[in-house]
Symmetry: C2
Subunit: 174 residues, 2 copies
């Protein structure tokens, strides 16, 4: 009984420490909130910037959407993006459509399958000054990925510094 009580105290203590560490951002590198980006409400309603297919390991179909501030900057061709701009990248698995192929008469159609994840780039030139003014977030099933996964984000975006670190270009109306 004493052992159980002792274990209980340890667990409670560890939980408390973990909570405190997380809240103040002074925990180990893998648990500190790197950017603190959360899911912007209503992002699924945002307007389309462009679409893409990443083959390779990802093998996804993706839609890149922007909130009002991001879309306005894109359409007016204004860089850098103003603070408050958010760019969302939604990814779904790249799956052949037997239904469509039957109509086309050959295998040529690939559609969005199961959702994979969603990523956000949030512009805040002060808060994220160390990473070009952008904070990065990634979520799967509504839950954030481990911050360790967000560490390489900015480094990969450096080659497009001239476009304010944003890869996706606006797809004009057909």
């Amino acid at each position: 009984m004493r052992r159980i009580a002792y274990l209980g105290t340890l667990v409670a203590l560890a939980g408390g420490l973990a909570y405190t560490a997380h809240a103040f951002g002074d925990a180990g590198e893998t648990t500190a909130p790197l950017f603190g980006v959360t899911i912007p409400p209503g992002y699924r309603d945002w307007r389309v910037i462009s679409v893409a297919h990443e083959a390779g390991n990802n093998n996804d179909l993706r839609a890149v959407l922007g909130n009002d501030a991001a879309i306005k900057a894109y359409r007016e061709d204004k860089l850098p993006f103003p603070d408050g701009s958010i760019i969302a990248r939604l990814a779904w698995s790249y799956v052949p459509s037997a239904e469509n192929n039957k109509v086309f008469g050959r295998d040529q159609s690939f559609v969005a399958g199961a959702p994979i994840n969603v990523q956000f780039m949030v512009k805040d030139s002060k808060k994220y000054a160390a990473t070009g003014g952008w904070g990065f977030g990634q979520f799967k099933d509504g839950k954030p990925v481990d911050d360790a996964l967000l560490k390489p984000c900015f480094g990969c975006h450096v080659p497009v510094k001239a476009r304010d670190f944003v890869f996706t270009q606006y797809a004009p109306s057909p």
Copy 2:
């Protein structure tokens, strides 16, 4: 001079006939307005239904968008789509991105290139009763394609009659 005046009369007459024929829909099969679908203002701002890649001859990346009525029906899983629903399919050429591939370290990235065309399905159960309640339109650079190109549309959509003749299914939020 007389010849010029005569030609001018002929041109004016032909123009008048063509206008009259178009207005009353009694011209030849290739010029009669089959559905009379026009480009809905602001369609580029509509919300995303899904994305796709058509390989083969098309080889395009596409975004399928819906106006408010269409999106509401999709999200509430309500069929048939109500009158006033419009579904837009925007297509861009499927092009490799050398810029992205350099970052990924291999050839895997395909993005939206030049705009190809845009198609619309407009729901009006009375006006388009002969084609499942849907009118079809296709535009390139803002101009409608020849109506002859729209004749096969409905036939291809018949296999998905159970989904109110609509191929694209709603892609859930990742």
